[in-house]
Symmetry: C2
Subunit: 277 residues, 2 copies
């Protein structure tokens, strides 16, 4: 039986055996969109774990409760929703702010305190608003604290929009970087786009970045204005969602009027951008 299965949780050994684990629970990719059937898009192991965990640290408590209600429709929760301990990570939350990549601050006592149930022997679930926790969101700090405190970290398998977009792009999947958000100010954004093209050429590396949905169209316009005609640009919109699509073409091809309907990005659906120069 796999370690991804709750029944083997007691198999943890070594110095952390008396502690609970920090279980990284992936979410669906439908944040802000029409909710999906969780049984279709997440592995059963994730739903089984989610139904069993009674201590949670989450990006947003309200959406975590909504997630657990959807889990309950597939695998009944072991405790009443109201009886669960659900604590929010310190802000800022994913996608709502500019992207200063914070160093993980394992020593932060506020973060370490979130792990006190694990130190008392209870498994703790970490849940993000979409996809894998601690990737492109503020969850890494609590994972770092878990390692410092000797709490075992168990990542459950689930989707990442960044890697789905990479797979769907046909760009180099053997060498790539995720660089977060680009600057909003037009001149700085243009400069950053050219810098990413330079990195892509020099390091032979696909560059992946994201934007808050209502700025998707502005970023797309900047890419078509600032990037070189031969640069290959891939855009994936609403992956795993109804109407989702991926398209890869050179910037010159994207600029053609015939590319219009697709180059004109929706302002309420998540998008991932990738370039290879």
């Amino acid at each position: 039986m796999s370690d991804a299965n709750p029944s083997s949780a007691s198999a943890a050994s070594g110095p952390t055996a008396a502690h609970g684990q920090l279980v990284l629970v992936p979410n669906a990719l439908d944040f802000g969109a029409t909710p999906q059937e969780l049984a279709v898009v997440l592995p059963l192991a994730v739903l089984q774990w989610a139904a069993r965990l009674q201590h949670w640290v989450v990006e947003d408590a309200k959406s975590a409760r909504a997630f657990l209600k959807r889990v309950h429709e597939v695998v009944p929760l072991q405790a009443q929703l109201q009886a669960l301990s659900i604590v929010e990570l310190p802000r800022p939350t994913k996608g709502r702010t500019a992207p200063v990549a914070p160093r993980a601050q394992a020593a932060d006592p506020e973060i370490a305190r979130l792990l006190s149930p694990a130190l008392a022997g209870h498994d703790v679930g970490l849940l993000s608003e979409a996809g894998l926790p601690a990737v492109a969101d503020p969850g890494a700090a609590i994972v770092a604290a878990a390692h410092e405190l000797g709490v075992r970290v168990l990542p459950l398998p689930g989707p990442s929009s960044l890697l789905l977009a990479l797979a769907a792009s046909g760009l180099d999947g053997q060498s790539f970087a995720f660089v977060g958000y680009l600057p909003q100010e037009p001149a700085a954004r243009c400069e950053r786009i050219r810098e990413l093209e330079g990195l892509s050429r020099r390091l032979r590396q696909t560059q992946i970045f994201i934007e808050t949905p209502y700025r998707n169209a502005a970023l797309m316009g900047a890419l078509l204005d600032c990037a070189a005609p031969a640069t290959r640009l891939s855009v994936s919109v609403a992956l795993t969602l109804p109407g989702g699509w991926s398209r890869t073409a050179t910037v010159a091809e994207w600029r053609r009027p015939s590319a219009g309907p697709r180059a004109d990005l929706p302002d309420r659906l998540p998008a991932v951008f990738l370039l290879q120069a």
Copy 2:
């Protein structure tokens, strides 16, 4: 209903409506290890799609047939296994060779020919030996060809060992790069480790890399010899598998004798390495 569900395949619209789609089918992460229950580790949508597809392009035909037999135990295949068209991608295969990141060669007629069923209206599945196809394997070329030929690309949600290892590391998940394999020659490997530390510092970026399992111990030795004591090093072994684990500590901490059992990596299980300097 989600686009990840086979029943909505007919919803494809635009110039590619007469074509089949290239469906990126994730595999479990148990390649070379004890097979897992697919129903537990992959979303149901993946198994439903895999049971329906009759044209496949795969990294390895033998392991693809084994995968489909396991799918059949959960969702019966719509056609006999022997009746399926299963064609291998041109070599080299994942993890077996040194890592020269190849540029996608969409113009390669051998690759484009693999998509002829899609041009004739049939959906074509793309399957790797582990995890997401076209990430850290040679599948990107056929995805690039699909975009050139106007064949819609549909990535199905599934696990990526690279991003699971990143999530489990507690290192910076808002800025990271995957750099493939390191050189095998000791002096070049040491130089590359220091180069990755430099990139991590300069670009504030977690660096992710892999090795073929039987060289895991040699790479770990090189990391402990060549990296700076304060560099944070994370290792994830056999993620989602029985006995899998993740550990993050400074190089100085890894070097201590008490780290022994874990610093001595297994030679038959997949590992992902990450550093942040």
